[in-house]
Amino acid sequence: MIKFVLMVNQQGQTRLSRYYESVELSRRAALEADAVRCCLSRKKDQCSFVEFKDFKLVYRQYAALIIVVGVSDGENELSIYELIHNFVEVLDKHFSRVIMFNLDSIHIILDEMIQNGHIVETNKNRILAPLTAINKMAEG
């Protein structure tokens, strides 16, 4: 089960967060800060999975952007690690440049991929289909 997805910059500022289990707003900031600190403190040659509280974090860095996914203990970490990459590939396919200013679009993409903590779609064309259709309608 996926507990949350975070996108943060290297300064630890959250660029996107999506929770699949309810966490009070007041506790989110601290949780995110801790999680990011935990990932940033690790060296390049160390494992991309790290124990955090009573669950695990899977993280992957793309230039200045770090994507952190919180997963429950029974999850297959490597498959989540690759899911992050799949997500990034989808983003790459859709956006040409700075992506972080399109917060809504990224959320829409993520909503197609993960729901209620489950991976629901990984086919890139299908992930993007609704968003493309919406954009087309909005333009046309």
Binding site: S17, S48, D54, L78, N86, M100, V120, P130, A138
Partner: protein, 1129 residues
């Protein structure tokens, strides 16, 4: 209501205005957010950020409430509000506007509106109700994109109570021509199943249809539902195994469209999902497992590509192979796969390899041998998570031989660990091992206490103290251990106690209070002095201080101690802390009154094992019932309250609290007494209810780690692989048997490392770590905490049994003595008999003083026999019976024929009731003894048949029970029937009646004796108890002894609860009082008039039962039979 509000919203004049805010429209929506993000990125302090965001929020607030804001602007404002809230600043004013946007916006705006709603609100937010109509409208829209959006938001967040409103439309969408709509409809149903499983029970067929959908996406979506369903009840979906296998085969075979590939691997996450489903289906089921062997083999074979994602699939595949019914060929391949993982230079793969290995060694500890050198390298790895996983692995292969090294490694890890959660987890594991291998216990626990600090679970010190007080096997050992503990703690306190964690200090206090008298040369005043030092320490918490005061209270029996104690008591009797003040008062009073002190806390001889604590607090019953009648609410135990709470809000998962791993908590056997309570009550055994409750919860969690096969099956075939593995064992330290193998294979093995010294060190470590694994007999596998609990329970039980075995011996003696008493009586009777005319008339007279006494194998309880009117029935056996017997048919037949030939002899008044099978008890040349029991409505009657098989001799019988019966004569070839009415004094699972039959022949023949026993279960004494629900309710509150357990439900689609209760009614004749939804009330009584009530509730696919009775042990014994009854097919 939502209707009205939505109309009001529509009436808002927001749509009337267009661009009235100059400038704002010129900036594109992303640009504004971009500015905000950039602005925040440039900030350096949290304070500045807060200022900026508050400013931003104020401006958003102003704009959203402005009537002139367009929907387009609103969309942009919502995104910014989302961003602000994401940074942790509440933007609750915008929630209603998000709903409005979803309702009124065009396509993109609508989507953002829905998105904002799903991010802002949680499942139980009341505003969510306002969304229902919008969703309903969009679901029925002709615009596919709108339908799609509505379904997406339904999948994410939807009020549970409103499901029925949209369910028919969602179901309709399952037949939609577009795959994306069908797919999202299936996902919506999955969501409904998660939040309200009852609502979608009727559409299981539609799930099947979705599984067979021609579009792979729809099929994939349905797998989420199936994984969930199969997790809850695998049995019901075994028939789908072949379908899942076929799907996986097609996926693996590349039959899906190309765009499902990820880096040329076909739908990897789908494969993983299918493998998970298969492993659940194949678990403990050979037939189902056989269906999947081929495809698993194929999966293992196909995954040769060197990409992370193929390893992710392989990992799942290996786990599956080791979960389902084993097939040696596959196991070998899977084991080889693990090798690829752990030997990989890529650290992520190594991690996953260790994780896989941790999983598989639970089935086959020897696999660790193959990778021992890797494991040792990982143990010293610089990455803490690798180390941690390695320790997890070692923990699973711990045995008596390597426990010392492994515990040492864990303690090393603890010394360096900075992470609280890891520390708590590892401390729990060490404590678990320490309790399992007690020879290392004491010193290990000291290390645990000082390293674990105050973070560890309170159960750990409690468990330790309990173990210390209950002791192990020999008194002498216990004494030595306690003495050692006292001495070492004294020296610790003389050192620098301020450095010790509070929990450890509390343990020390307790031990010194209880056992310092064992050290004879130790003056209590010295101990008191040390304890006073603790009180003066700044770092001592007030909890520790109260432990100190309690310890002092126990110690103040000598003159010198008293004065010191009184001083302390004086100081603390005015403390602000009420607990401390209370303890100080106790100390003051007890130190003044030495008589009272010796009565309350007798020096030395405390901890009488027979001491009984009325854990049910039955002495308060009067008070309670008074309070109840005065209108007080009945008490609900904590867990019940929590359950009710969790039932009321299903999805409130509270995930990020300091939730500790369950495994640590399970290593304690304490009863959640507060430490202070524990200290005063000296660790008396508490109520087992809580314990069993907790025990069951851990069992549940660890179900997955069961061994799937015995050693003989697979390990035998695996020998060659092991030998290769053993080659890596260091030569100087190898056992001689291994040496031979190694010599023969040495040429093949590459030397693992260059540095010989370091190598040797590692090899030495290897031999100590993997010591126990090569010899099968000593392999001792810990399969998680659940087992530990069992061990501890067993230990406890063993203790109980020890004491009960002594009682058995004691009881055996009375049996003997009663036998001799029988002899005496017999003599008397002989004398008497001599005077009787019958005697002289009979040619040969047998006398049968037939005594019945009761002994019991299980524990302290007994059944007494009351001699109901012993009816003698001298009935000649029918000649046919004898003809049969003379033909000497095979034994079985003989017994059966005996049954049938004795049945007519059953007393007429009992013939209406069902009787148990007539069992032959014993026989001699001239007589046979058989018995059965008859269950009447209000009694259990033991019927004993004494058959005189000799041709012509007449038998004289006298029965000795509680009362004597007159001498009776049994003529040749006839049967004497006796009845005894049985009553239960104390409930037991099974009762065993032991009787002695001695008889002699008057003509100077030696006396002969026969012993027999008759077994009958508790259930013979159970009768249905017809009560009304109200009566049940008042009885429930009045009963004090209870027990709880989770039982298996009878698998039935429709009414599992009813089916289960009916089965209990049929098999155990329990009366079903009422079934209310998922709960059931059941009542029965033990003869005579000893009621037992059972409360059942279906919870997570199991039947949670709670039994209560005024009779001790009855709930436990009855529970055993319930369990048995439900296990039987």
């Amino acid at each position: 209501m939502s209707d009205v509000v939505e109309k009001t919203l529509t009436a808002l004049p927001s749509l009337l205005s267009l661009d009235s805010q100059p400038g704002s429209a010129k900036l594109s929506s992303t640009a504004k957010l971009g500015n905000l993000i950039r602005g925040i990125t440039e900030l350096t302090s949290k304070h500045e950020e807060e200022k900026l965001i508050q400013h931003e929020l104020a401006s958003i607030k102003e704009q959203v409430s402005s009537p002139n804001t367009t929907m387009r602007q609103m969309r942009e404002l919502m995104v910014r509000a989302v961003y602000c809230e994401m940074l942790g600043y509440e933007a609750s004013f915008s929630y209603i506007h998000a709903i409005k946007l979803a309702q009124q916006g065009n396509v993109l705006e609508k989507r953002v509106g829905y998105l904002a709603v799903s991010l802002f609100l949680n499942e139980s937010h009341e505003l969510l109700l306002l969304l229902v109509n919008t969703v309903l409208k969009d679901l029925q829209s002709t615009n596919l994109i709108e339908v799609c959006m509505a379904l997406t938001v339904v999948c994410q967040i939807f009020p549970k109570d409103m499901i029925p409103v949209i369910l028919p439309i969602v179901e309709e969408k399952l037949n939609h021509p577009k795959e994306i709509i069908r797919r999202k409809a299936v996902l919506a149903l999955h969501k409904f199943y998660l939040i309200a499983p009852n609502q979608v029970q009727h559409i299981h067929n539609k799930f099947r249809k979705a599984l067979c959908d021609k579009d792979p996406g729809v099929m994939t979506a349905s797998l989420h539902i199936y994984l969930q369903l199969i997790q809850e009840n695998a049995e019901a979906y075994k028939d789908l195994t072949a379908s899942f296998v076929t799907i996986l085969k097609q996926v693996v075979g590349g039959k899906l469209p190309m765009d499902f590939n990820y880096h040329s691997v076909p739908a990897p996450w789908l494969q993983i999902q299918l493998l998970r489903i298969l492993s659940l289906l194949g678990k403990n089921d050979q037939r189902t497992s056989e269906v999947m062997y081929e495809v698993l083999d194929e999966s293992l074979r196909r995954a040769e590509m060197n990409h992370n994602i193929t390893y992710a699939i392989l990992y799942e595949c290996v786990k599956c192979v080791y979960t389902i019914h084993p097939k040696s060929e596959l196991l070998e391949k899977a084991a080889k796969c693990i090798g690829n993982f752990v030997l990989s230079p890529k650290i992520n793969l190594k991690y996953l390899g260790l994780k896989a290995l941790t999983y598989v060694v639970q089935q086959d500890p020897k696999l660790a041998l193959q990778h021992q050198m890797t494991i040792i390298e990982c143990l010293d790895h610089s990455d803490v998570i690798i180390k941690r996983e390695t320790l997890e692995l070692l923990f699973r292969i711990t045995n008596a031989q390597n426990v010392t090294v492994i515990v040492e490694k864990m303690l090393d890890f603890l010394r360096l660990s900075k992470d609280d959660h890891m520390t708590i987890d590892i401390v729990g594991k060490v404590a678990e091992l320490a309790e399992k291998y007690p020879f290392k216990h004491y010193s290990t626990m000291n290390a645990v206490f000082s390293l674990g600090g105050d973070m560890m679970q309170p159960e750990i010190p409690n468990g330790f103290l309990k173990l210390l007080s209950e002791g192990f096997d020999s008194e002498e050992e216990d004494r030595k251990l306690r003495l050692f503990a006292v001495s070492s703690y004294i020296s610790l306190l003389q050192g620098e106690p301020s450095k010790l964690p509070q929990r450890f200090l509390q343990v020390i206090c307790w031990v010194l209070g209880e056992y310092s008298f064992l050290k004879e040369d130790l003056e209590p005043s010295v101990v008191l002095g040390l304890l006073t030092k603790l009180l003066d320490m700044k770092s001592s918490s007030s909890e520790t201080k109260s432990w100190v005061l309690v310890a002092m209270t126990k110690l103040c029996w000598s003159e010198a101690a008293v004065s010191e104690a009184q001083q302390v008591a004086e100081t603390y009797s005015s403390s602000f802390d009420t607990t401390l003040r209370q303890r100080a008062q106790e100390l003051q009073h007890l130190s003044r009154d030495s008589q009272l002190h010796s009565r309350v806390l007798p020096p030395g001889g405390r901890l009488e094992p027979d001491e009984v604590v009325d854990s049910s607090l039955s002495f308060l019953d009067g008070f309670v019932s008074e309070a109840l009648s005065a209108g007080a609410a009945p008490y609900k135990p904590l867990h019940q309250r929590q359950e009710e709470l969790s039932r009321s809000k299903v999805l409130s998962l509270e995930p990020y609290g300091l939730s500790l791993p369950i495994s640590t908590s399970s290593c304690s056997i304490t009863d959640r007494q507060s430490p202070t309570l524990l200290s005063t009550s000296s660790g008396l055994s508490g109520d087992g209810t809580d314990f069993s409750h907790r025990g069951s919860s851990t069992t549940l969690r660890l179900d997955g780690v069961k061994r799937v096969w015995g050693r003989e099956g697979y390990l035998a075939q695996k020998k060659p692989v092991e030998e290769v593995a053993q080659v890596e064992v260091p030569s100087p330290l190898r056992s001689p048997s291994q040496q031979g193998d190694a010599n023969s294979c040495r040429s093949k093995t590459p030397t693992p490392t260059a540095n010989p010294e370091c190598d040797q060190e590692k090899q030495q470590l290897a031999s100590s770590l993997f010591g126990g694994l090569s010899s099968q007999s000593s392999v001792c596998l810990i399969s998680g905490a659940a087992k530990m609990v069992n061990i501890q329970r067993f230990r406890r039980k063993a203790k109980g049994q020890r004491s009960s075995s002594t009682t058995n011996e004691q009881r055996a003696n009375p049996t003997v003595s009663s036998a001799s008493a029988v002899d005496n009586l017999l003599c008397n009777n002989l004398l008497e008999a001599d005077t009787e005319p019958i005697n002289s008339s009979a040619k040969q007279t047998f006398q049968h003083p037939h005594s019945l006494s009761v002994a019991n194998g299980a524990c302290d309880a007994e059944a007494i026999l009351t001699d109901g009117d012993p009816k003698e029935r001298n009935q000649p056996l029918s000649s046919e019976d004898f003809v049969e017997a003379d033909d000497s048919p095979p034994r079985e037949d003989q017994e059966r024929s005996k049954d049938s030939c004795l049945t007519p002899h059953l007393p007429a008044e009992l013939s209406g009731f069902s009787h148990s099978e007539i069992i032959p008890l014993c026989s001699s040349q001239s007589l046979d003894l058989s018995a059965c029991h008859v269950q009447t409505d209000n009694s259990v009657v033991l019927v004993v048949f004494i058959t005189n098989t000799s041709e012509d001799a007449n038998l004289q019988i006298q029965v000795f029970c509680v009362c004597e019966s007159p001498v009776e004569e049994v003529r040749g070839r006839s049967v004497s029937v006796r009845q005894y009415s049985l009553t239960v004094k104390m409930p037991l699972v099974h009762f065993e009646l032991v009787g002695m039959l001695s008889y002699s022949i008057p003509a100077g023949m030696p006396q002969a004796m026969m012993q027999f026993s008759y077994k009958l279960p508790l259930t013979s004494f159970i009768r249905p108890l017809t009560v009304s629900t109200e009566e049940y309710g008042s009885m429930w509150l009045a009963f004090s002894h209870d027990t709880k357990q989770n039982l298996t439900l009878i698998k039935e689609e429709r009414e599992p609860l009813t089916a289960t209760l009916n089965a209990l009614n049929k098999k155990l004749s329990l009366h079903v009082v009422e079934i209310i939804g998922v709960e059931g009330l059941v009542a029965c009584s033990l003869l005579q008039d000893q009621p037992c009530l059972m409360h059942c509730r279906v919870h997570a696919g199991r039947l949670a039962v709670w039994l209560r009775s005024p009779v001790p042990d009855l709930p436990d014994c009855l529970l055993y039979h319930c369990q048995r009854a439900l296990q039987e097919p």
